[in-house]
């Protein structure tokens, strides 16, 4: 059979994830369709995209996996190109195409190596080949280059903030919410089933990559003004958080701590689901705002809670959840990941034990910065006064789009309320994969309290928290109603000046302190323009301040590589075309080098001839290539 499909619990779990992400998206997409001009093109690729993702997670051999993986990449690439006339879409699509195929090459190599050239072999055969492979670390590196370039992990994350904003919003929600998770599925499938007994170092590498991605993602999200690019940067952050959980699972497994490892893997799976739900919801909310205001610039929004209450409410739910605030599902999965990091105090390797607090530090700082970022995103978008005419004319989106957002909110809430059921599901999947079950240790006394599996670990009771928060808030509101204070509407106090649109804090201003504190990383380009009155420095009519942050990795790694390639090709070109004597001399010297080194391979090496030949080489290089000093 060239193509083979199999549905085992892990596949089924991810099919479930894809459907959870795709069904609310269908409604939303239907509502969004009127906004799209190339409808047929969009719909064909949209359904191909969903279908191919399901194909990837159900594939049972290398060939079908690669086929659907490539189909998924191509369909999403075409979906980015839905509105090619918009600015920045074509370069973004080109960049995405390049990056996704960069990863595909490594995946292809991985599959060719692991299946001994026979792409039709199943996962069990691959496991056998991997067990006898001489360089398993090579396989591991090919695997993570392949999957993590798709998942958007530092340093292969650069395409996300370009590709996600360029796509239509339902597609951004699918790409960020679901497609990145397919790459996480690849990690689970091929790490757990194929490359199984792994050394400790692999887990540490994944942990470090996760911690770096989470910090880098959230820091660049804070400096972003484009709402969708902001959310794309948060995807990098959340994939990092998932990988922290995954890496801890690998570390615990390598140390032989089965139940802790299962706990960490469950945490990673739970965060995968949570991120799917709230990130899809956030992208839908951002898409609705974009649909109404026709701009992605966060500085042009403001006050939308008054005209778009349902969008605002669902965006708030998702913001609270992604900021990992209790009692939401985002809090629960991040709590689990924290607990698995904290249970590192039981391991005996001292250097590892001292290193893991740094991951705790990274994750906690990420959490704090994510709160700051979502206060910015929510506060600037939905609160205050309308910052532009576009925002003033915004209305609530059509009912299908609202239905999409409400269904996705339902998914978020059900992940919160049914957390025990979901954890039970993840546990069963891992048990079916031959891991130790952890459900009974997480919920030893019923579903009310969630325990860490470590000795003397933490406890949290999501449902009690939710009920008490709701209860106390309602009680306070009821008491307020009873007291019936007199109310008056009046202007906001602003030192006697009128409050206006431009007296509000902007998103740039809001992130100002953090941007200044991290300016060593951001290296922001600031443009300040003032039209001063009669030559006074401090008196001016109008001024504009603009700050632009170019990500470090793009600045150094990508542009550096491009510059290096450019430089090499320039010199090669110059040598071959303008300095032909020197070029010929280089060829000549290369030939002598080959002739001379023949002795080594022929085992006729002697120090005397080596010295003589070295002298000949040095003279010839000096005279023919370097030449006289001009």
């Amino acid at each position: 059979m060239p193509f083979a499909f199999k549905i085992d619990p892990l596949s089924l779990l991810f099919v479930f994830l894809i459907l959870l992400g795709a069904i609310p998206n269908l409604f939303y997409s239907q509502g969004y369709l009127s906004h799209i001009r190339r409808k047929a093109h969009y719909l064909i690729h949209y359904f191909t995209f969903i279908f191919s993702m399901i194909g990837v997670v159900t594939a049972a051999n290398g060939l079908s996996f690669l086929l659907f993986w490539e189909l998924m990449s191509l369909a999403s690439w075409q979906l980015i190109l839905t509105e090619p006339e918009e600015e920045g879409v074509i370069p973004a699509a080109r960049f995405y195409f390049f990056m996704t195929h960069f990863g595909f090459i490594f995946l292809l190599l991985f599959f060719l190596l692991i299946s001994d050239g026979n792409l039709e072999s199943g996962f069990a055969q691959m496991h056998n080949i991997a067990a006898h492979f001489a360089y398993p670390t090579l396989l591991f590196f090919l695997l993570i280059l392949g999957f993590l370039s798709k998942a958007g992990v530092v340093p292969l994350h650069v395409w996300l903030p370009y590709a996600h904003p360029a796509a239509p919003s339902p597609v951004s929600a699918l790409m960020s919410g679901v497609m990145l998770k397919v790459a996480i599925y690849g990690m689970f499938r091929f790490m757990l089933d194929v490359l199984y007994p792994w050394p400790l170092e692999w887990g540490i590498l994944i942990l470090v990559l996760g911690a770096l991605s989470s910090l880098v993602g959230v820091l660049y999200a804070l400096s972003e003004h484009d709402i969708k690019a902001l959310l794309a940067n948060h995807s990098i952050e959340n994939i990092g958080i998932i990988l922290i959980g995954f890496g801890m699972g690998m570390i615990f497994d390598a140390l032989g701590l089965g139940i802790l490892s299962s706990f960490a893997f469950i945490a990673a799976l739970f965060h995968t689901f949570n991120h799917m739900s709230f990130k899809s919801l956030l992208f839908m909310g951002a898409g609705s705002v974009l649909h109404e205001t026709h701009t992605k610039n966060i500085e042009k929004y403001g006050g939308l809670i008054k005209s778009m209450p349902i969008t605002a409410l669902s965006f708030l739910l998702a913001s609270v959840s992604i900021s990992a605030l209790p009692p939401t599902n985002g809090f629960l999965s991040e709590w689990m990941i924290f607990q698995s990091l904290l249970s590192s105090n039981t391991i005996s390797d001292m250097s590892l034990k001292l290193a893991i607090p740094f991951a705790v530090f990274a994750l906690a700082l990420t959490g704090g910065l994510a709160i700051a970022c979502f206060v910015k995103a929510y506060g600037i978008n939905f609160l205050g006064l309308h910052r532009s005419a576009n925002a003033r004319h915004a209305k609530e989106v059509n009912s299908l789009m609202r239905l999409g957002m409400l269904t996705m909110s339902g998914v978020v809430i059900s992940l919160m309320l049914l957390a025990p059921a979901f954890i039970h599901l993840f546990d069963k999947v891992l048990v079916a994969d031959g891991r130790v079950g952890a459900y009974d240790a997480i919920f030893p006394f019923g579903i009310w309290n969630m325990h860490s599996v470590a000795i003397n670990g933490g406890v949290v009771s999501p449902l009690i928290l939710l009920i008490s928060l709701l209860g106390v808030t309602l009680l306070l509101a009821w008491a307020y109603r009873k007291l019936e204070p007199k109310r008056r509407l009046y202007r906001t106090w602003a030192c006697g000046y009128r409050t206006g649109v431009r007296t509000q804090y902007s998103a740039t201003g809001f992130a100002g302190p953090i941007r200044r504190f991290f300016s060593w990383l951001y290296k922001p380009k600031e443009h300040l323009r003032k039209e001063s009155l009669a030559g006074h420095e401090s008196k001016f009519d109008s001024s504009s301040y603009d700050v632009h942050v170019k990500p470090l990795f793009e600045r150094s790694l990508y542009e550096g590589t491009a510059r290096l390639a450019n430089w090499i090709s320039y010199w090669v070109y110059r040598l071959a075309h303008f300095e032909q004597t020197r070029y010929a001399a280089m060829i000549f010297n290369l030939m002598i080098l080959v002739l001379f080194s023949y002795r080594i391979f022929a085992h006729q090496f002697s120090w005397a001839t080596f010295a003589l030949e070295s002298v000949v080489m040095v003279i010839s290089i000096k005279v023919l290539i370097i030449g006289d000093k001009r």
Binding site: L342, K376, G379, L385, G458, S461, S468, Y480, G509
Partner: protein, 306 residues
Amino acid sequence: MILYFVTILLLLALAPILLSFMKAVKMWLLYKRPISLLQGYRDFSKLLSKETILSREASAMSQVAPFLVLSPLLIVLFYLPPAVKGAYYVSFVDAFTITGLLALSTFFLMLLGLDSASSFGGMGSSREAFISALVEPAMVLTIFSVSMMAGDLGIGQAGVNLALHFPKEHMASYLFAAISFFILLIAENGRIPVDNPETHLELTMVHEAMILDITGLYLAIIEMAASLKFAIFASLFATLFLPFGMEYALPIALLIFTIKLFIVALAVAIIEVNTAKLRLFKVPNLLGIAIVFAFLSLITFYVLGA
């Protein structure tokens, strides 16, 4: 169970008094006539009878957020470690939940600041976001370290364990964690040198800037939240880092607990009188000290076992 509710009521009652006490100590040290300890209650009753002025620019958020600022703190009150030996405590809550609930309260406070379209509100929210983002890692690391010394991550159980078995053998890391936690107490409650609670100068205010546009009953709710937050932190400091005198009979033990709260307040007041408020961009240095002490605490615990 009765003791549990008595402690909660005591904390609720003491919360405004603690803030007034700090203010009174500061005034006394500055040779001013100190305010009464009941000033907090007077302010509260005054605010109750005032009319509420809502900003015309604000949205429904302004009418909902104050409740969401207060309710997480009210819930945290139920989850604190026992102040008296043998009292009931909630066993199903750990320190992360508590930091999460505090962050939830701050989240809505920051949204409240942005809602009224005032530049002051935005300024306060922006600064608060900056400070609380940097507080978070220090807080988590301190919790990690204390939980290892106490032998449990559950906050109530940790308090009980520390009272039963004072970590003499881990004195160094215990002290480092205490220093770190005290800095966090100052930063989270917006006291000098991080924020000045008594100023309304736009250069310096953080917490006050966010609530500048709130009046009447809503302001009373927010003020109550601020005083409760201090009471929560003081009580956490008292039960986790001063875990003695809890085994006495009921009234004496409660009295000792109250005295501990006042000692924490006194320490904060003395620091407030003796230091100048830091510039906003110097605040990370102070929080950096807290982070470093938290790391030191962990490392001494792991490496030296001290």
